[in-house]
């Protein structure tokens, strides 16, 4: 199993451009999450999904959109990129939402908006 894969690894965007960060998992996990990590701030939840067709907002959803049409994929869309969206983005997945279900993280996408 490849686990959680994210593409691209790095990206530079100009202010106002849009892009989609891709996330795929091959573990048949129902739950998927998007976090952003800023220096000294820990990880903050952007959006999450508990199954195909079901998504919900996390702590910092503004400026982002998600969709979940399949179990495997959970893309994150940035519309009208702003410098405040410069961050490292991590996708994670877990089989369930209960205490013992571990979240597995991808390797991250480093995004710079200039």
């Amino acid at each position: 199993n490849a686990g959680v894969t994210q593409t691209p690894k790095f990206r530079i965007l100009k202010i106002g451009q849009s892009m989609t960060l891709q996330c795929t998992q091959d573990m048949n996990h129902n739950y998927m999450y998007w976090y952003r990590q800023d220096p000294g701030m820990g990880l903050k939840l952007i959006y999450y999904s508990v199954g195909a067709g079901i998504t919900d907002k996390g702590e910092v959803p503004n400026g982002y959109n998600v969709s979940r049409s399949t179990t495997e994929d959970f893309p994150l869309r940035l519309e009208l990129a702003a410098p405040s969206q410069t961050s490292v983005y991590f996708c994670a997945s877990s089989y369930g939402g209960g205490p013992s279900y571990e979240q597995y993280f991808g390797p991250g996408t480093r995004l710079t908006v200039t």
């Binding site: 999450y33 820990g42 990880l43 702590e59 939402g97 209960g98 205490p99």
Partner: protein, 114 residues
């Protein structure tokens, strides 16, 4: 609204010493308390976790101490090794009915000197 506060921000320990990282949380809605380890350029990975009905959990050199009444928990790394040098995040986990979301602390950068 910061629900998890982690300290210290950075920690330097000699090889063989004990590393201690502390976390405090603000409400009682959580049902799991994990610690994550992150190496540079990688996503976080689950290190050890504890349920709120247990006061201590030990796995090898890693121990979580949990104080429910004080809303605090800590990570102890015994016999710290240079390979333990990484960033450590505490987290609190919501129940499955709230998507199993994680709220992370700000992180502690641990450096173990040989």
């Amino acid at each position: 609204q910061q629900q998890v506060k982690q300290s210290p921000q950075s920690l330097i320990v000699q090889k063989g010493g004990i590393s201690i990282i502390n976390c405090a949380y603000e409400n009682t809605a959580f049902d799991y308390f994990p610690w994550y380890q992150q190496f540079p350029g990688k996503g976080p990975a689950l290190l050890i976790a504890i349920r709120p009905d247990v006061s201590e959990k030990k796995e090898g050199r890693f121990t979580i101490s949990f104080n429910k009444s004080a809303k605090q928990f800590s990570l102890h790394i015994m016999d710290s090794q240079p390979g333990d040098s990484a960033t450590y995040f505490c987290a609190v986990k919501f129940g499955y009915n709230q998507g199993g979301k994680l709220i992370f602390g700000q992180g502690t950068e641990l450096s173990v000197k040989p």
